[in-house]
Every structure is written in C-alpha cells, then in structure tokens.
C-alpha cells in the first residue's frame, strides 16, 4: 500500500519540477520503470497468487471459488493462535515504544559527535542474522542456559522463561526495537530547535513543551515505528518456534505449517485474514499520520 503512495508522490513531484515538458515526463516514466517492474514481479504477482489460492479450493474436480480457507480462522485452535499473536505483538509494540521513545529522545538531544556511533550500536544487531540472534536468546533463556547457570551458582531459584509468552515477547522486543528507535529518532532530530525554543519562549515549561510540541510533531515517527514493529511481530513464526518451543503456536506458525505440508490453499486463506488485520491497523494508524511522514521509511 505504502509503496504505491511513495512512487506516486515521487513521480508527481519530479514531473512538476520538469514543468510538464513532454521530454521530462517521458524521462521520469522511463526511470520509474524498473521500480514498477520490480513491484509487479515481487509484490503484486505474489499477492495475486496468494489471493487466488486463498479463495479457491484444492479440489481438482471443482476448482471453484470458496471461502472455506478464510473460514479456517474460525477453527478454535487457529482463532486462539491469531488472538495470541495479536496480544503478544501489541504488548511487544507497546514495550518497544516505551523503551524506544526515551532512547530516541536522549539520542536526538545529545550534540555529541559520538551520536552516529550510538546510532550504529543500535543498528549493529540488525546486521547479524535474525536467526542467530534469536537462537542466542534461546541459549540465554534455556533451563540450563546462561541466566539459570548464574542463578544456580548464586543459589537463587531458577527462572522458567523459555517456552513462555514472555520469552516470545522478549524475542520480539529485542529483534524489532531498532525499527522503533530509528524512525522516532529521525523525526526528533528533524524538529527545528527554534520551534522548541519558541514554545519555551512563550511560557511553556519543559513538560508542556514536550506534550504540546515535541510529542505531536513526532507522531509520524511513532506511527511508522509502530507499523514496523507490529507487522513483523504479528506475522513471525521464527521467534515463536525458537523461543516458544512447540507449546506456543502463533498464527504465523499455523500458516507456516500449512505451507510446509503443501496446503497452499489453507495457508493462503489464513494469510489473507492476517493481511486484513494488518490493513485495518494501518488504516487506523494512517488516520493519525496526517503528514504521511511515516511512509518515508517504507
């Protein structure tokens, strides 16, 4: 969805700059061609395939339109998985937001030269393989893992975190936190220092300045951060597989199972349901994102 917006605005603004000369317009169209091809090949086509599979039955004799795959979500186990996914990803997103905002605030305030360095440290884990990071957490949280070894050594009661929802939330927060920090940091550093100074000048104390100026102006970054944490959290199956064992099934696991055993129709049907939830949440969020700034990160 967002990708479409971006291409549209880009083409519009550059063609405006060219004063509408036919040469300029042609050039712009030509330049965006690879982008359009890429989008059709890697986004539109797969999407159409999923919709096709999701809305048809696998029965070779009557390969007809059906809502059966969609209706699979009403199956109690699937529904439970979806609800748990929604709950855990909402909790993770909230925790990420609460951690990331102050962090981004501190980062944006510090005038230090080491600023880039700190941002690097936040991005650095993102360069490591996602699987490796999650497996590392598995090792840390395991019954005989690092935490419990230390607790044992100190003669303290051991913790049972692995294979609980807590472990999954932890994995989500750890993996997706940078995606919340960076967009918020990006909007915060773009806020004109004089605008903040103006609020102070007009009598606002630092708390009023934060609530009335900084927070509202940073909403686009918050929205984009929420999207970038909520969507991968909602769809993940890797984190729940590694940190949840076989005990905790998220909707991502259910879909993955269907695809793994070759049941493309059921997998696609449930994917459509999931996509519906993502689209709804995006729609709700974009209501608050008047500026459309959040889109810049997609």
């Amino acid at each position: 969805m967002k990708l479409f917006n971006i291409t549209n605005t880009k083409t519009n603004s550059s063609s405006n700059k060219n004063g509408g000369s036919s040469l300029g317009n042609d050039k712009v169209k030509w330049l965006s061609l690879p982008y359009i091809v890429w989008m059709i090949g890697f986004i539109i086509l797969p999407l159409l395939v999923i919709i096709y599979y999701g809305l048809t039955s696998g029965n070779k004799l009557k390969n007809l339109f059906t809502l059966g795959n969609i209706r699979l979500i009403l199956d109690p186990t699937n529904f439970k998985a979806l609800r748990l996914s929604l709950e855990l990803s909402l909790i993770s997103t909230l925790i990420c937001l609460l951690l990331a905002y102050p962090l981004a605030m501190i980062l944006s305030r510090s005038r230090m030269k080491s600023n880039n360095f700190i941002v690097m440290i936040i991005i650095l884990p993102m360069w490591m393989n996602f699987l490796l990071r999650t497996i590392a957490w598995q090792n840390i949280l395991e019954r005989t893992g690092i935490i419990n070894t230390v607790l044992n050594f100190l003669k303290l009661p051991t913790l049972n975190i692995i294979n609980t929802p807590l472990a999954i939330v932890l994995g989500m927060v750890y993996n997706f936190l940078p995606f919340m920090v960076l967009p918020i940091y990006n909007v915060l550093i773009k806020i004109d220092k004089d605008v903040v100074a103006a609020a102070r000048d007009l009598g606002a104390n630092s708390i009023q300045t934060f609530l009335k100026i900084i927070l509202p102006l940073s909403i686009p970054g918050v929205i984009s951060g929420i999207t970038m944490v909520f969507v991968p959290s909602l769809t993940t199956f890797v984190i729940s597989t590694i940190l949840g064992g076989s005990k905790i099934i998220l909707i991502g696991n259910v879909i993955e199972q269907h695809f793994r055993v070759g049941n493309w129709h059921a997998g696609s049907g449930l994917s459509i349901v999931l996509m519906f939830f993502i689209l709804v949440s995006m729609a709700i969020l974009s209501k608050y994102d008047k500026e459309g700034e959040g889109g810049s990160l997609w």
């Binding site: 004109d192 004089d194 605008v195 100074a197 103006a198 609020a199 102070r200 000048d201 007009l202 009598g203 606002a204 104390n205 009023q208 009335k212 100026i213 509202p216 102006l217």
Partner: protein
C-alpha cells in the same frame, strides 16, 4: 525612549569549545528603545540575543532585567518574547492556536484569548487567517504570525533575529515600515538583529555595530554613518574611502602625501591615523581647483548617481556624483574639511579584530 536601563548586559562572555564568541561584552538597552545589533554573519549577534532570551547561558557575566539578575532564569520565566529567524511556527497547529499558545499556557480565559487573537491578526494585517495552517502561508505572512504570536503575550521587550532575512527586497522594505509602526503602536522595546546595514540605519534608535564578538561602536544611525569610530565600522556601514594618513597637527591631515584641512583636533602631532571619506562627500572640480589632481579610471551608472573611480596620489578614490565625467578625463578632487573623518589606528585587542575582516 527614556534613560531607564531596562536590560543591562554586564561582562558577558561565551565560548563554544575553543571558539570565543563573546568576550566581556557590555551593553544596556533603554526602555522603549529600538536597538539593533548589526554585524557580519558569525559575529555573535544571535548568541547575544539568545543570552538575553535565556536560550543560552553565558560562561561569565550577568543579564540584568529591570534591576534584577535574570542570568539563570529559564526562558519561560522571562518577560520577553522572541521572533525567530525562520519563524518557528508550530506547523501542527492552526494560526489561531499558534497565537493562543502563550495565552493558554498562562490560563487566560477563552474570551480574552479570542479577543487577543483578533486584535493581533488585525495588527499584522492578517484578519481572518485564524483557521489556516502555517504551511499554507507565504514567508511574509508567516513572519507576521510569528510576530503576532509573540506580542499577544504583552512582553516588555521583543527580540527579533533577522526577522526579514528570508524575505525578498520589496517585501522587506514594506515590513520595515510595518515593524516601525508596530513598535510605535505597542510602545515596547525592540532588540533587533540584522546584518543589513541599511535596515539597521532605517529602523533603529540605536545601532550597535559588532565584529567578532566585540562591540565596535554604539550610536544613533547618524553617528554611526557620519562619524565611524574605526575602519571596520566605516567599511561595514555604507561605502567609503579608508585612507592611511598622518595627522600633522590639529585641523591638518596628510592624506597620501597631500595636506587636507579638516576639523578634528586632539590627535597629537605627526600621528598615523585612518581617514574615512564617504564617496558622496568627494566633489569633482576642474583640475586646477582641486586639492589634488586625478584621472577618472572607471565609470558606472547606478541610477541615482554615477559611481566613478579616480586615480590620484596612487590611490583609487571611490566617488559618487550626479555629474558625469568620462573615463580618461583629468579632474580635481575637493573634500570639505568637515567631511573628513579621522580615526585612531587600531591599538587594543578589541579593535584588532577589525583588521582581519577588511
């Protein structure tokens, strides 16, 4: 304007790292004065203003406001308001909300706020703009809103940091008159920052010329223009001929080898000085009538006058005249004694800063 010192800056020093921006600056601002800080970019004007506004703490020195030391007071507790260079409007609020910001913080009543918004918009000639968003306004309009937003709080002092810097020439001139009108209507003190000498001379009661963190001269626009105290001020304010000379005795100065009568006294005998002669104060006469002879080497038509360069005694004299003398003609140069402004050569560190920029 009264003689009451409303704001007094005492020995203000400020450095960023190794960069000494202000060094022992002393300045007072009188009640109801239109005072302008004038100087080239980077000379510390904004820093001075930010220290008065409370956005920056001086390393040393005091800011006194109505007799009270406010050096450590945060900006929201100072009785002054600022108009920022790039307007700094709140882009997520309507014009009315922008203007109401300070009043809502002070918990004024709804009726009071609405009246104030109307009054302020009328004052800046933007009636009916209440529900517009800042982004939909032109630069000049945003500037007026920034002013309206500041003045509804009834500050005793309005600080303005190059408020017209981003506007085009015509609009800038219109706004200069508007600002003067506004100041007279409000009857408050303006501290104004600009690097545009014309703007400073047009609008101010008092001009403070700054360079590299030092005050070079404080005076009325006429003083600053007619009697610059050093070569920097002379060079920065308008065009001028700055000529290394020797003060032979009282009322007699040797400029580039020729003696000129002047009106200055008290410089001593045979003392090296700098002489400033404004280009419009040089009269071109018949070669035999002049104090010195020269040849016109260039000629430009500037609308109101011709700008000529006359080579005499090995120096190119800049001359503004309404009479045309073609290039290559020999002319005489005549300067009335009272048009010769004598200045001491820089001695102290304060004035040394001057030399670097010329």
């Amino acid at each position: 304007m009264t003689d009451n010192k409303l704001i007094n800056l005492i020995n203000i020093s400020k450095s960023y790292g190794d960069n000494v921006v202000l060094d022992e600056l002393n300045l007072y601002i009188r009640e109801n004065e239109f005072l302008t800080l004038l100087g080239p970019s980077g000379c510390g004007k904004t820093t001075t203003l930010r220290i008065i506004g409370g956005f920056e703490n001086p390393d040393k020195g005091q800011v006194i406001f109505e007799g009270k030391d406010i050096t450590k007071l945060p900006p929201n507790e100072r009785q002054l308001n600022t108009v920022f260079q790039k307007y700094a409007l709140f882009t997520h609020m309507t014009i009315a909300e922008n203007i109401a910001f300070g009043l809502k913080i002070k918990k004024k009543s709804k009726d009071y706020i609405n009246d104030k918004i109307k009054y302020a918009l009328k004052l800046v000639n933007l009636d009916g703009f209440e529900n517009r968003m800042p982004d939909s306004l032109s630069g000049g309009q945003q500037q007026r809103i920034a002013i309206a937003r500041a003045i509804v709080n009834e500050p005793k002092v309005l600080l303005l940091d190059e408020p017209l810097g981003a506007l085009d020439l015509k609009l800038r001139q219109d706004m200069q008159y508007e600002l003067i009108r506004l100041k007279n209507e409000l009857g408050i003190t303006f501290i104004y920052v600009t690097h545009d000498q014309e703007e400073a001379l047009t609008m101010s009661d008092t001009v403070v010329v700054m360079n590299q963190g030092y005050i070079q001269q404080i005076g009325s626009p006429e003083d600053i223009y007619n009697e610059p105290q050093n070569a920097f001020v002379a060079d920065f304010i308008g065009e001028s001929n700055i000529l290394p000379s020797i003060m032979i005795e009282d009322k007699l100065v040797n400029i580039l080898g020729t003696s000129f009568a002047c009106v200055d006294t008290g410089f001593g005998r045979n003392k090296p000085v700098d002489v400033v002669i404004r280009p419009e104060d040089i009269d071109l006469v018949k070669p035999e009538d002049g104090i010195i002879k020269g040849v016109v080497t260039s000629l430009l038509f500037k609308g109101v006058h011709y700008e000529m360069e006359v080579n005499a005694n090995g120096h190119d004299w800049l001359v503004h005249s309404t009479d045309l003398v073609p290039v290559g003609n020999e002319v005489g140069i005549w300067v009335d004694p009272y048009d010769i402004q004598i200045m001491n050569k820089p001695e102290s560190e304060d004035e040394e800063a001057v030399e670097l920029d010329i």
